[in-house]
């Protein structure tokens, strides 16, 4: 076999490489950093820093914060959990009163998980934080809640009538909230249309990493105070809080996975380029 045909044979074999080896190596790259963290560095991006700074400087004891969820369980472990846990912890630390409500059927159960993962300190359910459950209707429900809280919400998620919850006596409309955040992976503008524009309430997003490009125009125009997106956003927020959690623990795996994707891109294109050149020579 000549050198030329050997080279061609190699590129053909590489082009037809069994994907299972690639998957196996990828799985190993994701698992190893979780078991043995490398402690790779992380840079905090400006939307996350601005969100953190806003909460730090503007949200204080007794300030009411509405957290509207449109989450999905599939994305929960990586896209939402690190960010919502870190942000909720920060808000609890600041002494804010937190009102969780959602238009995602699975969200109340996820909110329960959040309650179980954070240090609530002396905060009491019904006095300092509440889970108001799930309401269908998406943006319409968000709007109905803004206009008249009691027209939409009669009981909390656990079936307690809202008039028996002390913190619910403090809210009637959107105007009673200091800050509203939407935890979502899809519709970005609901919050602006229903809270920012009509009531002038400060808004922020906790979203999936794919939403960064969608959120950026609103952040650039300062319509939102900032946003915390995906696993990386959660890790950045944990860095700012100096409280490592699930986000930072998973960041090494994320870095390894993304680097692997980048390397595969380069590798696949080099092999393709050499193969094409060889084929043209023939």
């Amino acid at each position: 076999m000549t050198e030329k045909s050997e080279k061609q044979d190699l590129t053909t074999r590489l082009e037809r490489l069994d994907a299972r080896y690639v998957y196996l190596f990828f799985a190993a790259l994701l698992i190893i950093p979780i078991v043995v963290p490398f402690g790779l560095p992380i840079l905090v991006t400006s939307p996350t820093r601005d969100f953190y700074d806003y909460v730090e400087k503007n949200v204080g004891k007794g300030d009411r914060v509405l957290i509207w969820g449109t989450m999905t369980t599939g994305w929960w472990p990586t896209e939402y959990r690190p960010s919502i846990v870190a942000v909720s912890q920060h808000l609890f630390n600041r002494g804010a009163k937190l009102y969780y409500i959602s238009d995602g059927a699975e969200d109340p159960l996820l909110v329960d998980t959040v309650f179980g993962m954070i240090d609530k300190g002396p905060a009491k359910y019904g006095v300092d934080y509440v889970s108001l459950g799930y309401y269908a209707g998406g943006e319409v429900a968000l709007s109905a809640f803004a206009k008249d809280v009691y027209s939409l919400v009669k009981t909390d998620y656990y079936g307690t009538p809202v008039d028996q919850l002390p913190m619910m006596k403090e809210v009637k409309t959107a105007k009673d909230f200091k800050f509203v955040m939407h935890v979502t992976g899809s519709p970005a503008e609901w919050l602006l249309r229903q809270y920012k524009t009509p009531y002038g309430i400060d808004c922020g997003w906790v979203g999936s990493s794919g939403m960064v490009g969608i959120y950026m125009p609103y952040y650039a125009s300062r319509q939102v105070v900032g946003f915390v997106c995906g696993l990386r956003g959660g890790a950045e927020y944990e860095t700012l809080m100096k409280r490592p959690g699930i986000g930072l623990a998973s960041t090494d795996a994320m870095s390894a996975g993304h680097l692997y994707f980048a390397l595969i891109m380069i590798f696949a294109n080099i092999v393709y380029y050499i193969g094409r050149k060889e084929r043209k020579k023939q």
Binding site: L17, A19, V22, Y23, F26, L30, L40, P41, I42, L43, T45, T72, T73, G74, W76, P77, A105, E106, P108, L109, D112, T113, A136, G137, G138, V140, A141, S143, A144, K147, D148, S151, L152, Y157, Y158, G159, E189, P198, S209, G213, I214, M216, P217, A220, R232, A235, T251, S255, H258, L259, Y260, F261, A262, I264, M265, I266, A268, N269, Y272, Y273
Partner: protein
């Protein structure tokens, strides 16, 4: 009154009237009666949306029950459909019987639904891997733009690269903030104008498709 009027004109007139009222209420200070009427409409929407769940439940049942009953069909398809229906009925019964915050329902959610749902999404990462390896190649100018953009996004979103090479993060941020934001703004404004145009067409009854299906 003709059946055409009953079927088409009246629903269109109601839709147009409600559109005007809701639109006006958003921008103008309206009497309390109007605001209360809008609140009522919103409550209807929330309730109707909740009924969409019932519709999806019926739809799943309608598709899978005949599949299970069909003799001579693929055995594994029948078994999977039967499994789906059994799990669905169990989850509904536990939800209704014990309520969703109960330990029983939480058990199903935390130990069955949540890992399965997350697992499905996690598998996507392997599909990405395979897709990058097999298809993400600079075969043409358009494909090269896609490959370069993909490479930039992946590396910009890699925490360790941003930390080690800060200018790479700055480059990514510039791309996001300048060309990205400009493109997105164009898109958002375009969609906004389109929605307004569609609203006006509906108000003028020029847009009948949502109700009548005719152009």
């Amino acid at each position: 009154m003709s059946s055409y009027t009953l079927r088409n004109q009246i629903p269109l007139a109601i839709a147009s009237l409600i559109l005007v009222i809701v639109f006006a209420e958003y921008f103008l200070a309206m009497p309390k009666a109007v605001s209360d009427f809008i609140s009522g409409l919103q409550k209807w929407t929330v309730i109707l949306s909740a009924f969409a769940m019932v519709l999806s439940l019926l739809s799943v049942t309608r598709i899978h029950v005949p599949r299970v009953m069909k003799t001579g069909a693929n055995m594994s398809d029948r078994a999977l459909s039967a499994w789906l229906l059994v799990i669905m009925v169990i989850t509904i019964l536990v939800g209704i019987g014990f309520d969703t915050p109960s330990a029983q329902y939480q058990f199903i959610f935390r130990n069955l639904f949540s890992p399965l749902s997350s697992g499905v999404w996690a598998i996507m990462a392997f599909y990405y891997c395979g897709a990058i390896l097999r298809s993400f190649r600079a075969r043409s100018l358009e494909a090269t733009v896609l490959v370069v953009a993909g490479f930039l996004v992946v590396t910009r979103n890699t925490p360790v690269i941003s930390a080690i090479i800060p200018w790479w993060e700055s480059l990514g941020t510039w791309i996001m903030n300048v060309p990205g934001v400009s493109g997105m703004r164009g898109l958002v404004i375009g969609v906004g104008v389109g929605v307004v145009a569609m609203g006006i067409r509906m108000l003028l009854q020029m847009e009948r498709r949502p109700i009548t299906g005719e152009a």
